[in-house]
């Protein structure tokens, strides 16, 4: 027996590629620019969003029949906000330096349109299990892009990965720097995340022509 039915696995796989929230739906760009200067915060952000979306979608889905439609958006906001505060508090307690680094961006998960979008479009109309898969799938799709962007920005901008000097030491001129290589300071700045996301979109659409809009 397969672990997931075909329909269910589509919920996870689709947002990873052909219906990616960042590159196809162009949602959640703000946080994708802000925290991807290094790989580590990108991964933490991805994990946090996976938690918030997975749990949030399940909670909303379980409550979908009792939520008064008049205050539906408020209820969704409260659920996201609660989960985000939980993430924030846990990070503050167990990963303090990281939570300082991410500072306001953890709070900004609340405004991540992918989350509200999935609550509204999916969790309110589907059961908890499928909503869970949908939430995880979309968060993974978001996280994958974050990690790819973080990887290139840290590697090309600072010459490091997870803070390790993989390309040699830029000050003492060892490794690649010995032959005249220089870090690209532009990569550290937020606008370059847009360029990297743009390149990902370009690669993705040239591989799958169906994604190109007329």
């Amino acid at each position: 027996m397969r672990l997931l039915s075909k329909k269910d696995s589509k919920l996870i796989m689709d947002p990873l590629a052909d219906n990616n929230p960042i590159t196809i739906q162009v949602l959640g760009i703000c946080s994708a620019l802000a925290i991807t200067a290094q790989l580590k915060p990108s991964i933490v952000m991805a994990v946090s969003v996976i938690f918030v979306m997975g749990a949030g979608n399940v909670v909303i889905s379980l409550m979908r029949n009792i939520i008064p439609s008049k205050i539906r958006i408020i209820v969704q906001l409260v659920v996201v906000a609660t989960l985000v505060i939980i993430v924030d508090q846990v990070l503050k307690a167990y990963a303090y330096s990281l939570s300082k680094e991410l500072s306001v961006f953890i709070g900004l998960i609340i405004t991540n349109c992918i989350i509200m979008g999935r609550f509204e479009a999916f969790a309110l109309a589907n059961g908890p299990w499928r909503s869970f898969l949908d939430g995880i799938g979309n968060a993974l799709g978001y996280g994958v892009i974050l990690i790819i962007v973080g990887f290139f920005r840290e590697l090309l901008g600072s010459g490091t990965l997870f803070g390790f000097k993989v390309l040699g030491d830029s000050v003492e001129k060892t490794g690649l720097y010995a032959i005249g290589y220089e870090n690209n300071g532009f990569m550290v700045l937020p606008p370059m995340a847009l360029i990297v996301v743009g390149i990902i979109i370009w690669v993705q659409r040239s591989r799958n022509k169906e994604l190109i809009e007329d």
């Binding site: 008064p68 439609s69 209820v75 609660t82 939980i86 167990y94 303090y96």
Partner: protein, 249 residues
């Protein structure tokens, strides 16, 4: 049983129950994690104070690495020999002076009758006493703060700056090595012996910071207001300690 979720009474009750449930969950969580968060904040302060004294885990020339969290308590206790709280002429020793909320004291001091409590930490470096003073001020967007380590003559031995939300790449650079290292050796008094502070100056024409008695360091391009904030907090907060340092002579 189908519930009429459109009814006003239902909506109101739902909202009230939701707020109560969410409120208690979050309050419980915050209470439960409070000791851990408090400990983290305490370690951070210890790390910052030690950093200003030049005790850090820096390896490369641009690192800003603190003593690791699991060791910082021991290092702090063995390095900082005395902690004082200065209230006007009265100086009391207090082993938890570093936990004093400088922001709160600043607010209380607006009342002219209030005698502000000033924390001061004394340690030993290379055989000489060294004093660390906390400072706090405003940057462009939000609070900036730091610790300044000085010797008996109030010559700066090291600094640490931090900020709540200065612009990345511009104002946030105040916590970079190239800026903080410039303060080392700077004099707070001018040549005629009056308190002058240190100005974060544009057009200082001293990029290598060789003139240590000019009461100025080089500003960061594009971070004028944050730099002015640093100047102001050094002038304002360190001046309050001058009477105490006079008594040391």
């Amino acid at each position: 049983m189908a519930i009429d979720t459109d009814k006003n009474s239902y909506t109101v009750i739902f909202a009230i129950v939701m707020v109560l449930v969410v409120g208690s969950i979050l309050a419980g969580l915050a209470q439960g994690l409070k000791p851990l968060v408090k400990a983290n904040e305490r370690f951070e302060k210890q790390q910052n104070i030690l950093y200003a004294m030049g005790i850090n885990a820096n390896e490369g020339p641009s690192d800003v690495e603190f003593i690791s969290t699991d060791k910082v308590e021991d290092v702090f206790n063995s390095t900082i020999t005395k902690q004082y709280i200065i209230e006007g002429d009265k100086v009391t020793e207090d082993s938890e002076a570093y936990l004093l909320d400088v922001k709160k004291e600043e607010a209380l001091a607006k009342d002219p009758n209030y005698v502000r409590k000033l924390p001061l930490f004394e340690g030993v470096k290379d055989g000489n006493p060294i004093y660390v003073i906390p400072i706090r001020g405003k940057g462009l967007w939000d609070a900036i703060w730091g610790f300044v380590a000085v010797d008996k003559e109030m010559v700066v031995q090291g600094v640490f700056f931090d900020h709540a939300g200065e612009t990345p790449g511009l104002g946030s650079e105040i916590k970079q090595r190239y800026f903080m290292d410039d303060f080392e050796g700077e004099h707070l008094f001018n040549e005629s012996g009056a308190f002058e502070g240190i100005t974060v100056a544009k057009g200082n024409a001293d990029p290598k910071n060789e003139r240590k008695t000019d009461n100025a360091v080089d500003a960061i391009a594009g971070a004028t207001i944050t730099g002015d904030g640093v100047t102001a907090m050094i002038k304002k907060d360190l001046r309050m300690y001058v009477p105490y340092f006079k008594t040391l002579k």
